[in-house]
């Protein structure tokens, strides 16, 4: 039984919000397995006692001062919205 059975492929697709047709499930599953197999090679390396690497740049996190330097651009923010009204984004009803 493969790691990427049909159920798992469907779940991954749903989590990623990607629509996958029934006819594509098998092919997508094979591709995902290929990716997993590729990444799996990394487990050959012994990483005992090695700290996870946060960044290849050994620099500290940069912080900024607390000041209002942005905003006031509702028109720009809404520019790509498929639908908007009176400054709001308008989306399909999401209430449960």
């Amino acid at each position: 039984m493969s790691v990427m059975d049909q159920k798992t492929v469907r779940k991954v697709a749903r989590l990623a919000q990607i629509e996958v047709q029934d006819s594509e499930i098998e092919a997508v599953g094979k591709k995902l397995e290929g990716i997993l197999g590729f990444v799996e090679q990394l487990s050959e390396v012994n990483t005992d006692n090695v700290e996870p690497l946060a960044s290849v740049n050994e620099i500290p996190l940069v912080l900024r001062e607390d000041a209002v330097t942005d905003g006031g651009i509702a028109d720009k923010v809404l520019k790509n919205a498929p639908e908007s009204q009176e400054g709001f984004f308008v989306v399909s009803k999401i209430v449960e």
């Binding site: 749903r14 919000q17 946060a54 209002v68 942005d70 905003g71 400054g87 989306v91 999401i94 209430v95």
Partner: protein, 484 residues
């Protein structure tokens, strides 16, 4: 004692933990320079970072970090010098990134504890599990259109401090006391305004039930949309009974997220998918770990104000106040400061009485806070001083107080203008006493023949003659002498 619910099969207790989302007071957002003011026109406080436009990068606000550390110190918690921002993945229209930047395995604040004050005078310690920083989501409005929702991202990206408690709470009263104390601490620290009706402090309630004596935890439900202390208590009352009913009928509790519906006073299951909690956290590659210096934490610690519990203990010790009076006075910093000005070098118990019984009484009635008091703390202090040094009687002081409340005037001026100084001149009082005795020979007769209760009548008459200004103690003494 925590509440015990008597069921058909035995006694049940509740086990409750809270996740409180407190919006940190900052000018700009956690990762962008957009403003955080409440109530602005929709989407006017949104930067391209908050709108999650491609290529935008988050830059951490140093004030948000400071507020989190400050709050952690105020909660007597461990500050973690190393913390990591992670992505919590979920799709919802009010979160355009498709993930919330939060902290998971390495929060900025670790374990701590606070004390809560229960109405019966008991003090209980409640464990704090952690505090972590995360982004707030936007706001959706569902009642404007039959098939559409309206989304405003102004709140999206605001700094939230999620404060998680241990499951140490046992009933609605304890939950109320915990939220009250937490809000008080946040306000003292100046890290969150604690305004539950504007949503700057929100609570999720985790609750399960078990038979009294069981050590194993039951399956819990998480209740969202609890927007006031009252709502939290009502939700707990409903949800605990719902769970007990299911268990007593032989059923089992589904671990799920439920929504508090304040219109109908019930919790309802949120129609959530099986993988709603599959958040797939991973360290945000856009942000390096946050590393703090111990010196930075120490410097913040030096700026902490006296916190509610310390203040309460000091008021009890230094001013000789009872626990109840002290807890009333410390409930806000401004109230405590007001009291301390009134009590300054004066009779502290008398000062506490005037602040709590007279001033807070009338302010409450008028729906005003102590900041809006027409009487300044200096003037109320003077009034207490006038009573203490016998310039005016307590009875007259109430009239002066009413006048001060109406006009905001200095009590010394009022007393001077209206000639309200207490009469302590023995000769003057004696004259009044003689007059009253002369005018009531029948009552004097009755008194002398054993009707002791009439003494009060004589006192009242003398006070009336003096228009309330005679020193009551002297009146008492003189009357006793004359009537014996």
């Amino acid at each position: 004692m925590a509440e015990i619910i008597r069921g058909n099969t035995g006694d049940w207790e509740m086990v409750i933990g809270l996740e409180v989302h407190a919006q940190a007071i900052t000018e700009s957002k956690l990762f962008s320079g957009a403003a955080t003011t409440f109530g602005a026109a929709p989407n006017t406080q949104v930067s391209l970072v908050d709108a999650a436009m491609p290529g935008m990068l988050p830059v951490l606000n140093m004030k948000s970090v400071e507020q989190a550390v400050r709050t952690g110190l105020g909660l007597n918690s461990k500050i973690n010098l190393y913390s990591v921002f992670e992505r919590k993945n979920y799709f919802y229209p009010d979160l355009p990134q498709g993930y919330q930047i939060s902290q998971y395995l390495h929060p900025i604040v670790g374990e701590g504890e606070i004390e809560i004050d229960l109405p019966n005078g008991e003090v209980k310690k409640i464990g704090i599990t952690r505090l972590h920083l995360e982004q707030d989501a936007g706001k959706s409005i569902h009642d404007q259109h039959p098939t559409k929702s309206y989304v405003d991202l102004n709140r999206s990206g605001n700094t939230l401090m999620e404060i998680v408690s241990e499951p140490d709470l046992r009933d609605g009263i304890e939950v109320g006391a915990y939220l009250t104390k937490l809000r008080m601490i946040l306000r003292y620290l100046g890290t969150c305004d604690g305004n539950m009706d504007e949503g700057s402090m929100r609570a999720d309630v985790n609750i399960s039930v078990r038979k009294v004596g069981d050590s194993k935890l039951g399956t819990r439900c998480e209740i969202k949309n609890v927007n006031s202390i009252k709502a939290a208590q009502a939700a707990i009352d409903y949800e605990s009974r719902r769970q007990i009913e299911i268990l007593e009928d032989g059923g089992s509790i589904d671990q799920e997220t439920r929504l508090w519906d304040p219109a109908h006073n019930v919790t309802r299951s949120m129609r959530s998918k099986e993988d709603a909690h599959d958040y797939r956290y991973f360290p945000d590659p856009d942000l390096l770990p946050l590393v703090l210096e111990q010196g930075y934490v120490d410097d913040i610690k030096k700026t902490l104000p006296e916190l509610p519990d310390e203040k309460k203990h000091r008021f009890m010790q230094n001013y000789g106040l009872g626990a109840y009076d002290a807890s009333v006075l410390i409930s806000s910093r401004s109230r405590a400061d007001y009291f301390e000005t009134v009590a300054n070098d004066r009779d502290a118990k008398l000062a506490a009485n005037w602040v709590i019984n007279e001033l807070l009484g009338i302010l409450n009635k008028d729906g005003k806070t102590i900041e809006e008091s027409p009487i300044s703390s200096e003037n109320l202090g003077k009034l207490v001083g006038l009573i203490e040094d016998n310039t005016i009687s307590g009875r007259i002081a109430k009239d002066v107080f009413a006048e001060m409340y109406a006009s905001g005037k200095d009590p010394e001026v009022i007393v001077e203008e209206q000639g309200l100084k207490q009469v302590t001149d023995t000769g003057a009082i004696e004259a009044l006493v003689d007059k009253v005795i002369a005018e009531n020979p029948d009552k004097v007769e009755q008194y002398k023949s054993g009707k002791d209760k009439l003494f009060g009548f004589f006192v009242g008459q003398v006070m009336k003659e003096s228009q309330g200004k005679a020193n009551p103690q002297m009146v008492n003494e003189l009357l006793k002498n004359k009537l014996s």
